[in-house]
């Protein structure tokens, strides 16, 4: 307690903390609203009939009617007058579905500190307490409810009132201890909206270090504050808080997230550079580093290429004008770009594909595929062939595809590869069924014929004859195979 007292003194004497009320809109208005609420609530008790709020909320609607019936059941079930009365007062915040009830805020996030039994303890205390209160006759209550807000509400009552959407001034909670009781009460009340409200008050009236320290032992409230700061974009305070809590990785990510809001690439690059040193996990650090390097690279390439394109000297840019800038594109897109425009460049230049591959340790498969797509798009079939050819140590060459030749064929076909080119890769498709399908689909007659020959399928081969042109070399081929088959069969 002595600590609390000292703190109390400490912050209390500093004058910069302003008092804070929750409904300090124009007084006239708020008073009007107050009386209106009072009237409404009176009507609540006297009779439940239409009023203007009702129309706004469409009662008489299916859903509206649900809430109506609740109300009716709620009051109908209790027979005595005071029972009815209390159900209307206390029940009001439980049945927020009632359109008429002015409000029962919620945004509740309770129980974050799951293993924190104490908060539970206080909860059940509160329960038994109110239970008793409810049964007592409270005929004069309605008047008191709406009287004003300068009476001495206890923290519990204040929270109650706020839960029911009533105007409440928090400024009379002056000592640190009072404020903390208020906060704990709000947390126990489970109504997130009220918790946030109290937090806003504390944030304004408590010194940062004190606020942080007290929240550290109040996990539920802490989560709400973090969420609140994130929502309202109070980045600096958020980072301070996370740092205070030693949640370093969260700090790093939170800070990194900021880059999304920076439009200017130069500034973004600078910002990312600053992110590299942040306490990410080891794996993430390397990604952030790569992100920075990539953007740096893209800025250089972009400047260069824009210049080239404008000058109109380079053939490739003339033939295939760039559709968009390369800035902020993913790595693989950048690689595609560089395979498209800068394929033959020496490894030394920043824009060469091999340089990118090395710098970012792009896996072979990814590299070959991207290059393949880019070269196929340019219909550079020789490059395609080179990419798919591997040499073994004896110097023999062998065709190898990183994703299966049927995918290669599809990719080439999409780029309108001629049959001669396609055929070569269709032939390499391992699965016979797929090979036949592709070959038939893309009219690679030779492949179809050879496959049937190897399968010794006379019927299919004969049938295929009608698919090839009459008198063509293919027909000749089929005929000769059929003849040979006959001979070998007998």
């Amino acid at each position: 307690m002595s600590r609390a007292r000292a703190d109390e003194e400490e912050y209390w004497h500093s004058s910069k903390f302003r008092a804070f009320t929750f409904d300090d809109e124009d007084d006239e208005l708020s008073q009007l609203k107050e009386s209106k609420r009072a009237v409404n609530s009176l009507r609540d008790i006297v009779d439940d009939d239409d009023d203007d709020l009702e129309r706004v909320s469409w009662s008489g609607e299916p859903v509206g009617s649900i809430s109506w019936s609740i109300k009716e059941t709620a009051s109908g079930s209790t027979s005595s007058l005071e029972g009815r009365d209390s159900s209307l007062q206390k029940g009001s915040s439980s049945y927020a579905a009632l359109p008429k009830q002015v409000s029962s805020y919620s945004l509740s996030s309770l129980f974050k500190g799951r293993n924190k039994l104490p908060s539970f303890q206080s909860l059940s205390d509160a329960l038994t307490d109110t239970g008793a209160k409810n049964y007592a006759p409270e005929l004069r209550r309605p008047k008191a409810e709406y009287k004003d807000y300068n009476s001495d509400w206890s923290p519990k009552d204040t929270v109650r009132r706020m839960q029911r959407g009533k105007v409440c001034s928090l400024e009379r909670f002056r000592s640190l201890q009072d404020k903390l009781v208020l906060l704990d009460e709000a947390v126990a009340g489970h109504d997130g909206n009220v918790i946030t409200a109290v937090l806003i008050f504390l944030k304004r009236t408590l010194r940062r270090e004190i606020l942080f320290r007290e929240l550290e032992v109040r996990q539920v409230a802490l989560c709400h504050l973090i969420h609140f700061l994130r929502e309202t974009g109070e980045q600096k305070l958020l980072l301070d808080l996370l740092r205070f809590l030693d949640r370093t990785e969260e700090v790093a990510l939170s800070q990194y997230r900021e880059h999304l809001n920076i439009q200017d690439v130069e500034k973004k690059r600078e910002f990312l550079k600053g992110c590299i040193g942040l306490p990410f996990s080891a794996e993430d650090t390397s990604h952030i580093q790569d992100h920075y390097t990539l953007l740096e690279r893209q800025i250089i390439i972009e400047a260069n290429d824009r210049h080239l394109e404008m000058a109109g000297q380079s053939e490739i840019f003339r033939k295939y004008p760039r559709k968009a800038s390369i800035l902020n594109m993913p790595l693989v897109t950048t690689l595609f770009y560089s395979c498209f425009y800068h394929y033959t460049e020496a490894e030394g230049t920043f824009s060469s594909p091999t340089n990118l591959k090395k710098t970012f340790k792009i896996p072979d498969k990814q590299y070959v595929l991207t290059a393949l797509a880019a070269r196929a798009k340019l219909r550079a079939w020789n490059d395609v062939d080179a990419l798919l050819t591997t040499k073994n140590w004896l110097g023999y060459t062998k065709k190898k595809a990183p994703i299966g030749f049927h995918r290669v064929v599809e990719m080439l076909q999409r780029n309108n590869a001629p049959v001669q080119v396609l055929q070569e890769y269709v032939r390499l498709v391992e699965d016979v069924e797929t090979r036949l399908n592709l070959a038939t689909k893309y009219k690679c007659h030779d492949v179809v014929i050879e496959t049937y020959r190897d399968l010794k399928d006379r019927v299919q081969l004969t049938a295929y004859k009608c698919k090839v042109e009459r008198g063509s070399a293919e027909e000749e081929k089929i005929n000769s195979i059929l003849n040979n088959m006959v001979r070998s069969a007998y």
Binding site: E25, D26, R55, V56, S57, W58, E61, I66, S69, I70, T73, A74, S77, T78, G83, S86, S87, L88, K90, G91, S94, Y95, A97, L98, V102, S103, Y105, S106, L107, S108, L110, F111, R114, L123, L127, G131, H190, G192, N193, C223, H227, E231, H259, L260, N261, Q263, E283, D284, H287, D290, H291, L294, P330, L331, V332, F360, I362, K365, L369, I403
Partner: protein, 567 residues
Amino acid sequence: AIVWDEYLTGPFGLIAQYSLLKEHEVEKMFTLKPGRLPPADVKNIIFFVRPKLELMDIITDNVLREDRGRSPQRDFHILFVPRRSLLCEQWLKEQGVLGSFIHREQYSLDLIPFDGDLLSMESESAFKECYLESDQTSLYHAAKGLMTLQALYGTIPQIFGKGDCARHVANMMIRMKREFPGSQNSIFPVFDTLLLLDRNVDLLTPLATQLTYEGLIDEIYGIQNTYVKLPPEKFAPKKQGEGGKDLPTEPKKLQLNSAEELYAEIRDKNFNAVGSVLSKKAKIISAAFEERHHAKTVGEIKQFVSQLPHMQAARSSLANHTSIAELIKDITTSEDFFDNLTVEQEFMSGIDTDKVNNYIEDCIAQKHPLIKILRLVCLQSVCNSGLKQKVLDHYKREILQTYGYEHILTLNNLEKAGLLKPQTSGRNNYPTIRKTLRLWMDDVNEQNPNDISYVYSGYAPLSVRLAQLLARPGWRSIEEVLKMLPGPHFEERQQLPTGLQKKRQHGENRVTLVFFLGGVTYAEIAALRFLSQMEDGGTEYVIATTKLINGTTWIKSLMEKLEPAPF
């Protein structure tokens, strides 16, 4: 005039049509967007919005641009759905426009009826809020919704639950009940049992592709508030004389619910069983139309004519669903759909979950949609109780390199939600869970199912299995597995006055309300409906949830928004 937060128009459409609003003197309706409000000769402007800060910014813009000089001056009101939020009001105040609103109220929309047995809160971010932001507001709303239900349908005597959120909701309900004795009522209880299930107890199910008719419609086209928008080509008007040449270009919008007889029959079937039903129906209908030739007497003709409207409706319903089935079939017979499904099923049956998967790599290489990749990788992670560090790092690297480094934030979110994580314990619990709960069935019957596993053609949704086992033989038989799943499991009883205690007739079904906290898929709903219909089942199910989801919408809700806000 009403200015609508566009998201809300869907759910509100389910409870009020425009004509009804008109009756209540709503002159005009606009959707909320920045800029000046459209002119309208009205006195009152009401904003219907969710309590979100970005929406507050738009409203601020609207209000600030309002022409002060105009007469009559328009009055502004704001209506928060489902709850008023001090945070938003504070925000409006900081922007200096709070005073412009004459009324600031809330419209408490907790549970919206979607069908005879289905309620949803349509709170899209409930899962994200609970697991990423530790903001359990939606649970508070869920508890309130349940109190409302109990006020209408009687106190539910038994509450079971599994998971942290389930525990919280149960606690809140008990507390609310004690605090507000007005909630005691004398209604005979409709529900015997309430089962609260956390989505994070079963992260697996939504990730898999749903294979029921309705599930597939949702996976492919997305059902929103019971409406689906379909590509128009297959719905070209067939009638002559309507200038049938020009194809409609607007997407075809259809409402899907059990009020449509045919849809009620096929929605929950495995897609492979839908075709035969449709063709059978087609025969019945054409036979019915044929009957006109046999109608001889005036009485017979009269009877035929009286049936015509019903037959016409049946025919157009059949035409619609045949077209939808065609559209879906085009996709389900594609190579990629098959490959994707094969991989999913391998993972779920426990094959090769511990190494880098070729198909996933290929999809990344071909830059398939990121969400598809994330679904698969998460599925693999869940089916392996986390991925080996090396495998995880490999996927991460490939994803970041192909889709952009900024997705590191999304990957982080998924990790926090437990969907994508390194295997920490070094032990994979999934095989034990799979075997004990019989999550994978090899001999699945899609046409005439005998087990819930038909909804995923082999995989029985874990969540629904838990519900099934709770009804019979009870959770005590699976204590061990329950302990492996996250969060506590519990049972609570709410005392009923003796007069209200049910005396069960022999053969009478028990009714269980299953509340999915964090979302439910159509396939899970189908599985529960299947259990309701089982002859010897003994339990009927009503389903409630925070949101109807599928893997795609779910993952999307967890992704970091990468575009900066419009302001």
